[in-house]
């Protein structure tokens, strides 16, 4: 009797999490390795995954921390990078309204690019927005992210203690290139990329401190908006 009930339980959330799990394992692992080789401790690498839980922001934070950027600049850069969650949360809010309001503060912590994309697709295709669906999808993804960054951090420590080069100095630039090309959907984004990159270098010469990334990014994104009127 009990077994039958178990079988009838709905695992839609876990099923939907499978593609996210497959995606998170290599990226979380790469994040863990890079965190360690950029000079963070294992605890630091994992605490970013546990308490921030935002892939691209964590990569960016690691590289800013390793170049000694000040706290205010790091936090404000991360703020603008993660502003897009505002859109995801807005879009999910009409579905989350249908579950108990006390779940929302916890559930909304787990909104990422990937969990948003998967859940909004499911919900628009008739998935019932109950809390078990959200918890299954969100927790499966979260646990995968934390564990794969832990495995990455441990592997990173092994690589580091081996004392060999392994080419890891180049891992971060290579990661930027890969992430960038995954984003370059059209010619306007290409122009924005070249402009922001060049401006970022120019700003290193022009202004003291480490404001080059945030200023170049804000100017680059503004250029993108302006370009849309012309192209």
């Amino acid at each position: 009797m009990l077994e039958e009930q178990e079988e009838r339980k709905d695992y839609a959330g876990i099923r939907s999490a499978i593609p996210i799990v497959i995606g998170y394992i290599p990226i979380g692992f790469a994040y863990g390795v890079l965190g360690i080789t950029s000079g963070l401790s294992i605890i630091e690498v994992i605490s970013l995954s546990l308490f921030v839980y935002a892939g691209s922001a964590q990569f960016i934070a690691v590289s800013l921390l390793s170049t000694g950027v000040d706290i205010v600049t790091i936090v404000s850069t991360i703020f603008i990078v993660n502003l897009r969650h505002f859109l995801y949360s807005t879009s999910l809010s009409r579905y989350m309204k249908e579950i108990g309001r006390h779940h929302i503060p916890l559930l909304s912590f787990f909104i990422t690019d990937e969990t948003y994309a998967v859940s909004i697709t499911d919900l628009q295709n008739g998935q019932k927005p109950d809390e078990s669906y959200f918890y299954q999808l969100f927790l499966t993804s979260y646990i995968t992210w934390v564990l794969s960054s832990l495995v990455g951090a441990l592997s990173g420590s092994l690589l580091k203690t081996s004392g060999l080069n392994w080419g890891l100095d180049y891992a971060l630039p290579a990661m930027y290139i890969a992430l960038l090309f995954m984003q370059l959907a059209d010619f306007k984004k290409f122009i924005v990329a070249v402009f922001s990159g060049a401006l970022s270098i120019a700003l290193i010469y022009l202004i003291p401190g480490n404001f080059n990334v945030i200023i170049a990014a804000l100017c680059g994104a503004s250029l993108g908006v302006v370009l849309e009127r012309w192209i």
Partner: protein
């Protein structure tokens, strides 16, 4: 964990959590204007290249566009791999292997 890291962690956790929770709670009735949505759409590309360009075109704080800069030269095969694969792992592997090859060659 040093004190600076703890502040960065708390700050990052807050600025990441706030945009996630406020709309979900239904606290924001602001409908973002179209240009703001487009602006946010360009932010990841802009941030990534603002980080990338200095990391491959500068060494020791100076512009270094030369054949002797392994970061710059290793980026050529990495870009090609990224263009054709559009995933994360293949370009990273290609980049690291090219970089190791170049550093051996230059020694």
């Amino acid at each position: 964990m040093d004190i600076k890291f703890i502040f960065v962690l708390i700050g990052m956790a807050l600025v990441t959590y706030i945009p996630r929770i406020i709309p979900a709670l239904g606290l924001s009735r602001v409908n973002l204007p179209d240009w703001a949505l487009r602006f946010l759409d360009y932010i990841p590309v802009a941030v990534l290249s603002a980080l990338l360009f200095p990391s491959i075109m500068m060494t020791k704080g100076r512009l270094d566009i030369a054949l002797s800069n392994p970061y710059l030269i290793a980026s050529i095969p990495t870009v090609i791999a990224a263009y054709f694969s559009r995933n994360l792992f293949i370009p990273v592997i290609v980049g690291i292997v090219s970089y190791i090859g170049l550093t051996i060659l230059y020694v």
